[in-house]
Structure formats: C-alpha cells, structure tokens
C-alpha cells in the first residue's frame, strides 16, 4: 500500500509536469497577452517596458523555466488582470464550485442507483423502458438548455427560485458555504440540478448494465435459495458486484463537473472557478489559465487515486500494486 501510494505520487508529479508543458506551449500560440494589460494608446516604449515586467521579452524556454522555478518555490504566478496570485483567485472560488458539484453528484447518485438497479433487475417492464428513455433524454439534452428551461419555469414563470447569483453564506472553518442557509439552498438547487442531469443519466445506464450482468450470476440465485428477499438480493448481493464501472464513471464525472462547470456557472451567474476560467480566457490572463488547468489535472489524478483505493474496498479480489 505504501509503495503503491509513492508510485502514484511520482506518477502525479509526471502528469502535472506534462500538463504544465502542454498548457504553456498552447498559451504561447494564443497571442500576446501584453495588449490585454496596457492602455490601448500606449507607446512602443511602454509596451516594451510592460513586456519586461511581465517577463515576456525572454524566450519561451526561458519563460518556462522561470515559471517552473517559481512553481517549486510555491509561486504560481500573478494574474495580469487582478494583480493577485493566480492560485488565490482560483481557491477563492473553489468552494462555490464544489458546493453545486457536491449537491449535483448527490442528486445524481441517489436517483441514478435505485432507478438503474430497478431497470437492470426488471428489463422489459414498462417502468424500466420509461426510465431508459428518460435517461437517453438526459444524455442528449445540452446542459445550457436544461439550465435555461429551469430558469424559465422556476425563476420566471413560477418565481420559486432566484435565477442567478449565490445566496447568503456562512463561514465554516473559514470556508464560506451557502448550504447552511435557506437562501443559499434556493440559489444552489437550480444550478446543481442542471449539472446533475447528464451525470444522472450516465450513472443510471452504467448501473443498469452492471445489474443486468450481475443478475445472471449463480450467487444471486444462491442468495435467493437461502431465503434472502428480492430487494436484499439486489442491494445486498448484486449492487456491490456491479459497482466497479459505476464508481469509475462517478470519478470521471466528478472531476469533469468540478473542472468544467463553466457553462452552468455562466448561465446562473454562479461565482465559481468555471466562470473565472471563461473570464480569464477572454482576457488572455495566462497565469490563471495555466494554474487552473494544472489544478484540474491534479484533481483528476487525486480522484482517480481515491477511486483505485475504492475498488479494493468494493472487491476483495482487486489489490493495488
């Protein structure tokens, strides 16, 4: 286990390094950020000076190694736009994003698993067909459309929930959260539901496929021959055996939602990381984009590591090496 963790840590460093190179190279092709930070009527001398201050006058290789050197000292670069450390900007907005993502994943999982188990255990029943058609719809509908429809009905027509922004927050251990106030929840629900739709549909289909496979196994019939109830057989014996692919997809979706809740956050004016990313791309705020994408890579690596550990807890036949 220790050796495995060390191995995964080394792997993580390699991934992060590779991401930094790729992102750095890509960003250098996207134009000269100096024009974003200086007044439009600046003289050539002023432009040159700004370049020097930002370090853009050096070669790309030099820039990269300076960036890497700073990184190793804990300096992740400073936003051109906000003149603040890029990492602070991102971490400031991380709790807001995590909030809607966690609520979205809870919604998706608690609905997807029971429906998936039902559809997998009762293929061909009318309700199963309905569930599966619904899930196809969930996969096909684009998130922005779902968000707009929710706003139209719940915020405009029925006026149940607000259409945008983050509600009242309270600080818990220095982290602001809106999950402890009623106003906070009324703001969280619509974006969280919007985020959950696609994940719900995918998790449901994977759960169903797993349960259909598992239902054919002898140990399911053996459990029934022991006198276990149908429900007990499905959840006590079946589900855990069908869970490996579900957990895999859960991890990927979780990372995806954290990293790229961009569209939903934009529609609902949610002050999360995704909106920061979009804004930074518009403003060519290179340091923020680089740090953002490296953080995303880190999140994916960590989630996958945790998922691997989860595999071994779900299935004793799986060991990590």
């Amino acid at each position: 286990m220790f050796a495995y963790t060390v191995k995964r840590l080394i792997q993580m460093v390699v991934v992060l390094w590779a991401v930094s190179v790729i992102v750095f190279l890509m960003m250098s092709f996207t134009g000269d950020p100096v024009f974003m930070v200086i007044p439009i009527d600046s003289s050539d001398a002023e432009i040159e000076q700004a370049r020097r201050i930002l370090g853009l006058d050096r070669s790309l290789t030099e820039q990269y190694f300076i960036f890497l050197g700073n990184l190793l000292q804990g300096d992740f670069g400073t936003s051109y736009v906000f003149r603040q450390p890029a990492i602070d900007l991102i971490l400031e907005r991380l709790p807001a994003t995590m909030e809607i993502v966690v609520v979205a994943m809870v919604i998706a999982t608690t609905i997807a698993i029971p429906l998936g188990v039902y559809a997998g255990a009762n293929p061909g029943k009318p309700l199963s067909r309905l569930i599966m058609s619904g899930s196809l719809l969930g996969i096909s509908l684009p998130g922005f459309w779902v968000g707009m429809m929710l706003i139209y009905f719940f915020a405009v027509e029925w006026r149940i929930f607000p259409s945008s922004g983050r509600g009242d927050t309270v600080e818990v251990f220095g982290v602001p959260t809106s999950l402890l106030t009623a106003d906070g929840w009324s703001h969280v629900l619509l974006p969280a539901i919007t985020l959950s739709v696609g994940t719900l549909a995918i998790l449901l289909r994977i759960t169903r496929a797993g349960m259909m496979e598992v239902s054919r196994q002898d140990y399911m019939k053996f459990a029934r021959a022991k006198g276990v109830s149908r429900r007990g057989v499905l959840y006590g014996h079946g589900l855990r055996n069908g869970l490996i692919p579900v957990v895999t997809i859960f991890g990927l979706q979780l990372g995806d939602l954290i990293a790229f809740a961009t569209i939903t956050e934009t529609i609902f004016g949610w002050p999360g990381m995704g909106k920061l990313l979009v804004d930074s791309i518009y403003r060519a705020d290179r340091p923020v984009i680089v740090v953002y994408l490296m953080l995303v890579a880190l999140i994916f690596v960590v989630i996958n590591f945790l998922i691997d550990i989860l595999y071994t807890m779900i299935d004793p036949r799986i060991t990590v090496k």
Partner: protein
Amino acid sequence: MTMQSESRDPLLSVRDLRTWFHTFSGVVKAVNDVSFDLAQGEIMGLVGESGGGKSVVGFSILGLIDPPGRIEGGQILLDGEDLAKAPEDRLRKIRGREIAMIFQDPMTSLNPVHTIGRQMDEMLRLHTDMDEAARRRRCIEMLESVGISQAEDRLRAYPHQFSGGMRQRVVIAIAMLAHPRLIIADEPTTALDVTIQSQILKLMKRQVADHGASMILVTHDLAVVSEVVDKITVLYCGQVVERGDVRDVISAPSHPYTRGLIDSIPNPDHRQPRLSQIPGTVPDIRNLPKGCNFRDRCPRAQALCAQEEPKLAPTRQSLFAACHFPIGTGGDA
C-alpha cells in the same frame, strides 16, 4: 405439520408438476407431469441427460423459476403444504430454512465480495433468532463439521481464497446451517476434480444423515448416484421414464433409456474396445414426436411406440417404467 401425521407420509410429494418456458420459438415443456415422493431421511437421485429438465424440478420446488418460465400445474406438497401455490413471502421462509439448495459450480455460487462468515451468518440471521455470538459459534461448528480447519480464521476469508473443493464444502455448510429438512443438490460434484468428487459426496451423505434430512441429488452421472442414493428417478424430455430403488434400477433397469445410461458408464472390470453410448440425440423439446419420446433412439421400438405414449406402470420389483416393451418382461428374447 400435524402431530398425528403417519411416519409413512412422504416429506415431499410432487404431483403432476408442469414447468414450462414460454420462449420466442415455442413452449419448452421442461418438466411435464412429473410425480415422485420422498420420505423423511431418504435420498433420491434425479437422473437424466443435459436438458432433461432435472434442474428445473429442483428450482420449481423452491419457487425459483424466473420468467419466461412458469409452473403451469401440479402440486409440490411439503408436509401437505402446496408450495406451487404458496405466496412469495411464505416461500422465502421455506427457502434455506426447510429446503436448502447446493449449486453445481462452487466457483460461482458464493458471492465474491462478501466474506465466508458473512455469507454463513446471513442464513442464520434470516432463519433463526440466535444472537451474534451464538450464530458465530454455530458457523464455526458447521465449518469444522464439513472438514474445514482453522474455521475461526476462515470466516474472515473471501471465496477466492478457497479451492473449488473447499468452496463446495462451504456451500454445503451454508446449506446445512439452518437444519433444513430437504436438500436439493444440483450436480454438486460435476465442477470438481474427480479426486474430490467422492469426498464431497460422502460428506453430503453424512451431513444429510446427521441432520435427519432428505436429499434430492440432481445429476447426469449414474455412477455418482449409485454410491449415495436410496432410489432413482430417471427423467427424459421432462418426463419420468423410470423410477425405483437404486439396487433394482442399477442392476436390472426395465426402461431402455436407463439401460443406455448405465451402459455408458465406463467399467474398469470389463475392458470394452469402445464405450457404448445411446445413439442419436435428445429430440427438440419444443417439438416432441407423437408416441414415445425415446423411440427414435430405442433398440426395442415397435410400431406401437410411434402411436401411443407409454404411461408409467409397475414392471418388476420396485420399478416403474414408462415403456410399452420394458426389459425383462414377457416377449424379451
């Protein structure tokens, strides 16, 4: 479960059982008018070729026939209670408690993600009101009685940490835990090494005797059966073609199909140049011919066999056979 029930009353009485499967390509009459009795403490072999409906009989008794299969008719009387008409929640109390089942493949009949201990404990939790410590003691005793050493440690082990033979011992232990009165063993040794087979059979026979239980041993292997059972029921195309005490059936069967099955057992005492076999194959069960189902493969078939279906009738000694021209009766050369 009346107090005055006579000792001769069978524990299990299956009457005209019909279990059919409604598939896209037609109705498969996997079990068609099967009847037999089983007394307390008796072991019966249910024998036939693959696809002969043997396993379906076992699953029908437990009410574990899944769609498209259905019990179409007949009675399954356990102590006079008709299981064919019992509701699911009643059947659930009977499964494991009154009737336990041992499956063919021990590699797949245990749940891979639960410990042996948990899978044993589940049986006792469902069917007894023992406390946790008592259940644990009982599980350890049971594992020891099926010949598993260090039982206490083994409770924490997972199925993949056991060999096939050991797993089947665990399955037997689970089946016996709640002291069921009837064991249905579906090809319990088929998936095991030959060297392990007779060990497991002896173990099962001893366990059944110790608990005073009855057993139905479903198998295609007559050699296996003859060592263990008291009586034999032979199925062919979902119907009983012969039944009787094991000695009578093995030494001088009266149905040509049984004869064929016995002759197909390799005999080390009489070296034959070729192993004999029954010619032809089992007919398509969705489309059975008129008359006797076995007539196309039968060396004794005559014109009558194509016209009239033979009924099960007494032939010699303890034997009943469904044959117009049973072996060893008049007209035999």
